[in-house]
Subunit: 96 residues, 2 copies
């Protein structure tokens, strides 16, 4: 299963900055960062459920926003990219 995770975390408070770091760290354990707040994740359904549960328990539901898009298999290999690129293989090993 290919997933795209995008987030906006409100960083106007120290607690928000902490949440931002936590959200990034959680996503880093599951996928590859392709932009500041965008991760590409290749995982099994059970991993997706765990990822969602962990993110849900981490964010402030009145200030932060996370969106998870389910992509058809292989979609991450066909992204149109403009500008500076992090050369990543969405199926490559995850470095934490």
């Amino acid at each position: 299963m290919d997933l795209l995770v995008t987030y906006d975390v409100d960083t106007t408070t120290r607690e928000g900055q902490r949440r931002l770091r936590r959200v990034a760290k959680i996503c880093e354990a599951y996928g590859h960062r392709v932009q500041k707040s965008v991760f590409e994740v290749v995982c099994r359904d059970t991993d997706e459920l765990r990822l969602i549960a962990t993110l849900r328990a981490t964010i402030d539901h009145e200030r932060d926003s996370i969106r998870l898009y389910s992509l058809p298999s292989g979609a991450l290999d066909e992204v149109e990219h403009l500008g500076v690129s992090r050369e990543i293989d969405p199926r490559g090993p995850i470095v934490i």
Copy 2:
């Protein structure tokens, strides 16, 4: 065709801040903003080509990054969302 557009624009210079505003304005003409740097776009193939060409001509290719994900039809209606939501209909009218 459903598209997801995500971007990182380097705003460490005034010129970068201008580019960020321009990129947002371009995307607003094609789709709905769902997060600070994420737009959902429902458009025809010709619109997609025009959008890509306009973005390509706008960004600094050594500092900025834009990614366009092609989604299967209807994928935008099945996004998993956590936290604060902009209640949007990806197929609704675009307000510029």
